[in-house]
Point group: none
Chain length 414, copies 2
């Protein structure tokens, strides 16, 4: 099956946003064994979209569109595709009810232009959108399969990875199973080096390495007639990858460092608090991204000035004077201080220069100390992440979560 993607959105052509949907869909098609030959971006312009569709239907068996399904005047994907493929748009009552219910829930009046989001091609397969208002849909016409997805990544990604890929798996025949092996503390090239031999021969299952957000991932994907057969194909490969990467693997299908840390703490009945200076709340935010974090997380303090470090965390004035706020000693006192103030088993203290500026003493931007207090002891990991404020803060939070996860795993499960 030859596929192509068409992203509809003037905001991409203007450079306002990057077409990240394209990567999500490309990766998914690769997992499904569907060849993707073209990606096109076209603006919110019905004539040009129509021309692009006419080119696509000549050369591809599957057209996946993103964007242009919203309520506004310039959202014209549905109408243009329906016309191109001679499909009537009909009101899909269940979708209209979902949209109406959505507006009821948020207590806003639904303006009439929202109704058009429920106008879908006759006899299409509707993909319910649990992340926004515009449903996706799919149909076949003239031997070409068309799949329409909403554009916003927070809607497109989950809808594609669930209902979208399930629909395509049926077209492609059989089913697929993927497992994600999560790795922290190993660079992408070192990981690839270690996996080189395993990856080279791999066809089914395939092994795909990714680097993202300061950590790595290997996705093992197998295709088979049944789910059980696919699972049997992936199992030995997952074991081999874990063996090759050893200690750097922090989990399989665990979602994220914060999820893995949350699971490890919850399973052991341990409690956590965090004190943040340069990360400014990012670590606390990521911990509380996890629903149910209140089972182990008592809270945090963003201590963005020395005064508050002393008052809330009990960091000593002489420590700040002698070693400065960005020091191993301050990180230790922050970690111990928050654990004591909040009464938790584990305390984290983060202090550093996130950038753009470093310290007046010449300490470079990106130098960050991550202290951890646990069972009466403190330890500090110092990192240097000089690639900008956002990356430095992210890396510091990643290392803190890695410290928490490793500390928790030393305890027996309760």
């Amino acid at each position: 099956m030859k596929a192509e993607m068409i992203a509809v959105g003037t905001e991409i052509l203007l450079g306002d946003i990057v077409n990240t949907d394209a990567q999500v869909i490309s990766l998914g098609l690769d997992e499904l064994g569907i060849d993707l030959f073209y990606q096109t971006v076209v603006g919110d312009n019905p004539e040009r979209l129509r021309a692009v569709l006419d080119i696509a239907r000549q050369r591809s068996d599957l057209i996946i569109t993103t964007g242009g399904l919203g309520p506004t005047l310039d959202d014209l994907t549905r109408e243009t595709i329906a016309e191109a493929f001679g499909k009537q748009l009909v009101l899909h009552q269940p979708s209209l009810r979902r949209i109406t219910a959505f507006f009821d829930r948020i207590g806003r009046e639904m303006t009439p232009n929202n109704i058009k989001q429920a106008m879908l091609p006759a006899d299409c397969t509707v993909l319910d959108n649990d992340w926004g208002t515009a449903p996706g849909c799919a149909f076949e016409a003239d031997g070409v399969h068309v799949l329409m997805l909403p554009g916003p990544p927070r809607e497109c990604t989950p809808l594609f990875r669930t209902a979208g890929m399930a629909y395509l798996a049926k077209l492609a025949g059989g089913t697929i199973v993927s497992h994600n092996i999560h790795i922290f503390g190993l660079g992408e090239s070192e990981m690839e080096d270690r996996l080189h031999d395993l990856m080279e021969g791999a066809r089914n299952p395939t092994l795909a390495p990714y680097a993202k957000d300061g950590e790595c991932l290997v996705r093992v994907t197998a295709k088979a007639d049944t789910r059980e057969q696919a699972e049997q194909l992936t199992a030995p490969a997952v074991r081999q990858v874990c063996d090759a990467l050893g200690d750097a693997v922090y989990g399989v299908d665990v979602g994220s460092l914060e999820q893995a840390a949350a699971d490890a703490l919850t399973a052991r009945g341990l409690t956590l608090s965090v004190a943040e200076s340069c990360t400014g709340g990012l670590l606390s935010k990521r911990i509380t991204d996890i629903a149910g974090a209140s089972r182990f997380y008592k809270g945090g303090a963003c201590t963005y000035c020395n005064e508050i470090k002393m008052k809330i965390l009990g960091v000593k004035k002489q420590t700040l004077d002698r070693y400065t706020a960005v020091s191993v000693q301050t990180a230790e006192e922050m970690a111990r201080g928050i654990a004591q103030a909040y009464g938790t088993d584990i305390g984290i203290g983060i202090t550093g220069y996130a950038g753009p500026d470093g310290g007046e003493d010449g300490t470079p931007a990106g130098t960050i100390h991550i202290g951890m207090y646990c069972a009466g002891e403190t330890q500090v990991r110092t990192i240097c992440s000089p690639r900008g404020r956002e990356t430095a803060r992210r890396d510091a939070a990643n290392h803190a979560l890695d410290l928490i996860l490793r500390a928790a795993k030393k305890y027996p499960k309760s």
Copy 2:
């Protein structure tokens, strides 16, 4: 001038990398006032690239390609383009000398396959690549301008922004100006309803509405011979949009809610602290995303359990018992408590059910109270954001920033 981009690279179609060159070039073309109508990605396959080129030359005056200029076998952009436009490839001696010198500098032997990077279309304009080995080049044939750039972003970006844009500025003539009007507290469809008449007739300047991250944006863009003329075209449209949307406009060209709030606080010498329950540090994280936040931000507390709300913020036990932790009363006490504990002019207190669960008393998930203490008074805004945990938390942080911004603006600038 109608432009289109063609990225050549199987690694983009496989999802290994995101086509970030597209954004860099889109933004640059927008600055130059060159209309970009299409972006296409095609693999390292000469037949498909040739077909894409044949489509492009029919519909565009300018074709910009990225990728496929390297030394390896699958780098075929140069050869395919030369053939498509009937151009001879000739050895460009200065480029060969640059490539040879590059290998000398890094102390590696130049393998013979590198020579082909200096084979360029006859009579083209060569764009010297100071960031890698493959030069860019440009030519005109059959009334179509072609600009070829290397694919790696660390080469493509600087080469495009310097020699590439200089070449294009000469072709384009004229310039464009854009202004972004930032809106909070109005849904996209309601915004468009109010702007409908203004938008429908708009050609120069154009009015483009966007919804992103819980807020909206209208971009007003005008094209003219000079920057001054373009500014004169945008000015009345910006005023009309601001008038139509009234109080919901929080700034023009201000970047983001957090940046606008940071600027407003800094300009008035006001200080801020925040207490977060369900947002868990997200608001603090967003405030400290702004470099220089320490000028107004003293810090925050994530009080994820009642015990810490009482201990750090002084929330009264009877308030928690009588009204629960998720209540207007608790939000007020959190806001006042953090302002007093941290000694700041403004204090924020956020408490709610981010989801997936709501309250045991039937309060739905997404119900969040945002309290603000300022100048001896407290106020609370209650929102209902039922589209999932992440969106609920984002919306709560947005509303907090909106409250801060409105409060700050009531003070005279210092």
